[in-house]
């Protein structure tokens, strides 16, 4: 679980030795690419579960959910290729749905934030430039989804 915001982490790096940004205070530290991929799979599955529930409850969310879930499908296929490239075990065929998922836009936002963070914090453990680039490309798309949800929340709050 992260304990510092992204902006706070960047301020920390600006204020002190750069190593501070990679220290344990920032959030998760990953020891291997396998850990990073497993964390991404889990967090992405949570986002997908929340999106499906939201789309069932809020028809206006259907187009967004369909678009994001299509992106997730592509990312899973690309991660499977990266796993082979890095000689990692394949991902499990399915992930258990997280308990207690409801149609909560704020909770979806938080799940997306965790997913984006997992990518960012995981990149240094991957160590292969091609795989880093590919996962960063996925992170960009997740960050875009996060911003879309942010804008939706802002509109709802008026």
């Amino acid at each position: 679980m992260k304990v510092l915001s992204r902006r706070a982490a960047l301020r920390l790096a600006a204020a002190g030795p750069a190593l501070a940004i990679a220290g344990p205070a920032v959030g998760e530290e990953y020891a291997s690419a396998a850990e990073v991929f497993a964390a991404i799979d889990t967090r992405e599955a949570e986002v997908a579960a929340r999106l499906r529930v939201l789309a069932r409850a809020v028809p206006a969310a259907t187009a967004l959910a369909e678009s994001v879930l299509r992106d997730h499908e592509r990312f899973r296929a690309e991660r499977a290729k990266l796993r082979r490239r890095l000689r990692l075990e394949p991902a499990p065929a399915a992930f258990p749905a997280p308990a207690g998922v409801d149609a909560d836009l704020q909770a979806l936002r938080e799940a997306l934030d965790r997913l984006v963070y997992t990518h960012a914090e995981g990149l240094p453990a991957v160590r292969d430039p091609h795989s880093v680039h590919q996962l960063a490309t996925h992170m960009v798309e997740h960050a875009r989804h996060l911003t879309v949800v942010d804008l939706w929340l802002e509109r709802e709050r008026g």
Binding site: R6, R7, A9, L10, R11, A13, A14, A15, G16, P17, A18, L19, I21, A22, V26, A63, L64, S67, V68, V116, H119, A120, E121, L123, P124, P129, H130, S131, V132, H133, A136, T137, M139, V140, A143, R144, H145, L146, T147, V148, D150, L151
Partner: protein
């Protein structure tokens, strides 16, 4: 004819006077990760941050951002100032000398909200594309992590300006 993202990337890179190895990386060439390359990437990223800050300051000082978008512009200028300071710290820690902003960014033509928003979107897309193309070649973990956080900010900025200019965001 509208400028492509790739053309915009190289136009801004040319304005910033980026080091040749970085320009090659932006063009898709490979390179061996090294401390020297990290410093050149930091220099390139700083040049983009200076350019972005100049655009936001130009728009904010002249009141060109529409009232509903001004808060975003203030937020994003703050982000870019943070990115600049982070990367100056990283560069100096490695014994490098951070590049100063250019004397001028030739922004005189940005005299309307429409043109300003278009240019803000362009610089954010350029920054997003540049960080994305360079991030795999960063050798040190601390800078790679900082670059990832910065990249996430650039995506947020670009997505907000895309919506403001009427483009689809999903």
């Amino acid at each position: 004819m509208a400028e492509s993202r790739r053309d915009a990337l190289f136009r801004v890179a040319g304005l910033a006077g980026l080091a040749l190895p970085v320009v090659d990386l932006l063009g898709g060439a490979g390179a061996r990760a090294s401390e020297r390359l990290d410093l050149e990437i930091l220099g390139a990223a700083l040049a983009l941050e200076h350019h972005a800050i100049a655009i936001y300051e130009h728009g904010l000082e002249r009141g060109l951002f529409p009232s509903g978008l001004r808060d975003y512009a203030v937020e994003f200028r703050g982000d870019h100032l943070g990115h600049r300071d982070t990367q100056v710290a990283l560069m100096e820690e490695r014994g490098g000398r951070a590049p100063a902003p250019q004397r001028t960014y030739h922004l005189e033509g940005l005299t309307s909200a429409e043109r300003l928003l278009k240019e803000a979107l362009t610089i954010e897309r350029v920054a997003q594309d540049a960080y994305l193309r360079l991030i795999g070649n960063i050798r040190t973990s601390d800078y790679q992590l900082a670059a990832a956080f910065i990249l996430v900010d650039e995506v947020r900025h670009a997505t907000v300006w895309k919506r403001a200019t009427g483009a689809r965001i999903y």
